[in-house]
């Protein structure tokens, strides 16, 4: 292009300038288009969920039970279902992930660490539907045998499978935050003759707690938003679960199950309430992680 410049006569680089401006506008336009999707999704759900909100019982939805015969379309059982499945899976996944991350970052031998890290990275790419499928035919019968009752499709099965799903996300995040601990700190403890465990306990963990907490929140978000595992192996009963061996329906599987019903019905409108709650939860998660990343004083870590 510069070679042609002399031939352009009066305005050297005139065309270039137009291109530059045009390209910048185009890039800006795509960026605006992309973020407008985020807003559009929320707007759409809000507008379509409006009949619910207009009736003045929008906030009751979150506390009411689900019984269409009495005209109650509360999503309380689903909220409890989602909470119990995802929190239980985090209870399993957090210590497991912390252990695996420490093994990869500090404690394990180099070769094994590298291999294990690849496996964990690979696990993030395994389709969710396969976890659900294997869950039905491998995990559910085992749970049924051990606890001798019910169908085996319960909160426990779903959260065990979810543990396998969310652990890789958490482990990779933990490793990243371990990697960000300043090299000088690590050299210092090596120079002092500290053992690997001491390095982990007194240097890595205290310095990486923000990252660990963010990883925890991201894992929770992943567990909250997953549909297929809960849909396939949590049993989907619409009632507030009483124990981990009860069947439960999550907000996500409620959406998937009700979508087939009549579009104009109130039952259908209730799924927008589920959608809105999931959206709001996502936003809170993102806000928490961003807050942790920047810190209260606005210092980027």
């Amino acid at each position: 292009m510069p070679r042609n410049r002399q031939n352009q006569g009066l305005y050297p680089g005139h065309m270039n300038k137009i291109y530059e401006k045009f390209a910048e506008k185009l890039f800006l336009l795509s960026a605006i288009l992309s973020i407008s999707v985020t807003i559009l999704i929320f707007g759409f759900m809000l507008i379509l969920g409006l009949p619910f909100i207009r009736e003045g019982n929008f906030f009751n939805l979150f506390t009411q039970p689900w019984s269409p015969h009495q005209g109650l379309y509360g999503i309380y059982p689903m909220i409890i279902g989602t909470m119990s499945v995802s929190l239980l899976s985090i209870v399993f996944a957090f210590p497991l992930s912390l252990g695996c991350a420490s093994l990869i970052s500090v404690l394990g031998p180099k070769g094994f660490s590298r291999f294990f890290r690849k496996v964990v990275q690979f696990m993030t790419g395994v389709p969710t539907v396969i976890y659900g499928f294997i869950g039905i035919f491998l995990l559910v019968p085992i749970i049924r045998e051990i606890f001798q009752g019910g169908s085996g499709m319960c909160i426990l099965s779903a959260s065990l499978m979810l543990t396998v799903l969310v652990s890789p996300t958490m482990i990779l995040f933990f490793i990243d935050s371990f990697d960000q601990v300043p090299k000088t700190f690590i050299n210092a403890i090596d120079a002092l003759g500290g053992s690997k465990v001491q390095k982990l306990l007194y240097v890595m963990l205290p310095n990486a707690w923000r990252g660990i907490l963010s990883g925890l929140i991201l894992g929770l978000g992943r567990a909250f938003g997953d549909t297929l595992i809960a849909l396939m192996i949590a049993g989907n009963a619409i009632k507030t679960p009483g124990s981990v061996l009860d069947s439960a329906r999550t907000l996500t599987s409620h959406i998937a199950l009700v979508i087939a019903s009549d579009y104009e019905s109130m039952e259908f409108k209730s799924i927008y309430a589920c959608g809105i709650s999931l959206y709001i939860f996502t936003t809170i998660t993102v806000l928490c992680v961003r807050f942790l990343r920047t810190g209260p004083k606005g210092v980027t870590k």
């Binding site: 992309s34 790419g125 976890y131 396998v164 306990l201 992680v289």
Partner: protein, 293 residues
């Protein structure tokens, strides 16, 4: 000098490592043991001859060829939608946006990345119903709607990988072409993008895997159990992940169940293939950087 606490922590971390490895290897092992026997030509093409099926001469009835074809068209369409917009947004965020705008935009992309796929599916479904009522009778949940929704789903990945790999280019390289008189746009297209290509490409490949595996979005936006090879972008279609889900709840005999295992192995193979490609692309970058420095 090993204290008992030290030993305990080492043992616990090994236990968690072994548990996770055990879990994933038993999942994949079980799948392979149960399903490898089902991997045959007839699993994919049924009674139809493969050549006829591939040339779309004859319909495949009892094979998963239509599902594979559906998944492929989904991936191509949605990546086709997402890549240009995602690349352009990533370039804007990394090269043009000021710090404040960047912060706001990144916040929205973070939310978009976190929205559960079923919610995006719900959005797509509502959009289809809305368009059906107000725009045209011919629009209903279909391949086009699904691939648009999948594009929304992977858009933040593409934006983020593009932005990060552009931002990671060292200042020296960034300034060289500018110092020689190149314009900003020339610098972006002739220096910055080629330099960060492997990062961008691996992001795109990973999002291909994401499109291929996602089930929740397509469940709500037009995938069906039997539709044959998709005829147009406004028609229903089949897809591999949905086929697996469908078989798991509706199988009537062991043969059908076996085809579910077979389909799972094929889907897993497709996703791992893309994963390893992405991995190779990124690794080459690392070796490249290593030899240069």
């Amino acid at each position: 000098m090993t204290r008992p606490v030290d030993k305990l922590i080492i043992i616990l971390s090994w236990i968690s490592g072994i548990m996770l490895l055990g879990a994933i290897s038993s999942i994949i092992g079980y799948l392979l043991v149960k399903g490898l026997g089902a991997i045959k030509f007839s699993l994919i093409f049924g009674e139809t001859s493969p050549v006829d099926a591939l040339l779309l001469k004859r319909q495949v009835f009892d094979g998963i060829f239509p599902a594979i074809a559906g998944t492929f068209s989904l991936v191509i369409l949605s990546v086709g939608f997402a890549v240009p917009v995602g690349l352009a947004s990533g370039i804007y965020l990394s090269e043009y946006a000021g710090p404040k705008i960047k912060k706001v935009f990144n916040f929205f992309f973070d939310i978009l990345a976190g929205i559960p796929s079923i919610v995006i599916g719900l959005f797509g479904f509502s959009m289809a119903v809305f368009l059906h009522k107000h725009l045209s009778q011919y629009i209903f949940p279909c391949l086009l709607i699904s691939s648009l929704c999948l594009a929304f789903l992977v858009l933040p990945y593409i934006v983020r990988t593009t932005q990060v790999s552009l931002e990671n280019i060292p200042e020296q390289i960034r300034l060289t072409a500018l110092a020689l008189g190149a314009t900003k746009l020339q610098n972006i297209f002739y220096v910055l993008i080629p330099k960060s290509l492997s990062g961008i490409v691996s992001g795109v490949i990973l999002s291909i895997g994401r499109c291929a595996e996602d089930t929740a979005v397509i469940m709500l936006t037009g995938v069906v159990a039997t539709a044959g090879v998709p005829k147009s972008i406004l028609s229903h279609y089949e897809a591999l992940p949905f086929y697996i889900y469908y078989i798991s709840s509706q199988y009537s005999n062991t043969e059908e169940l076996l085809s579910g295992y077979g389909a799972s192995i094929i889907l897993l193979a497709i996703c791992s293939f893309f994963f390893f490609i992405a991995f190779l692309v990124r690794n080459r970058l690392k070796y490249h950087a290593f030899y240069r420095m």
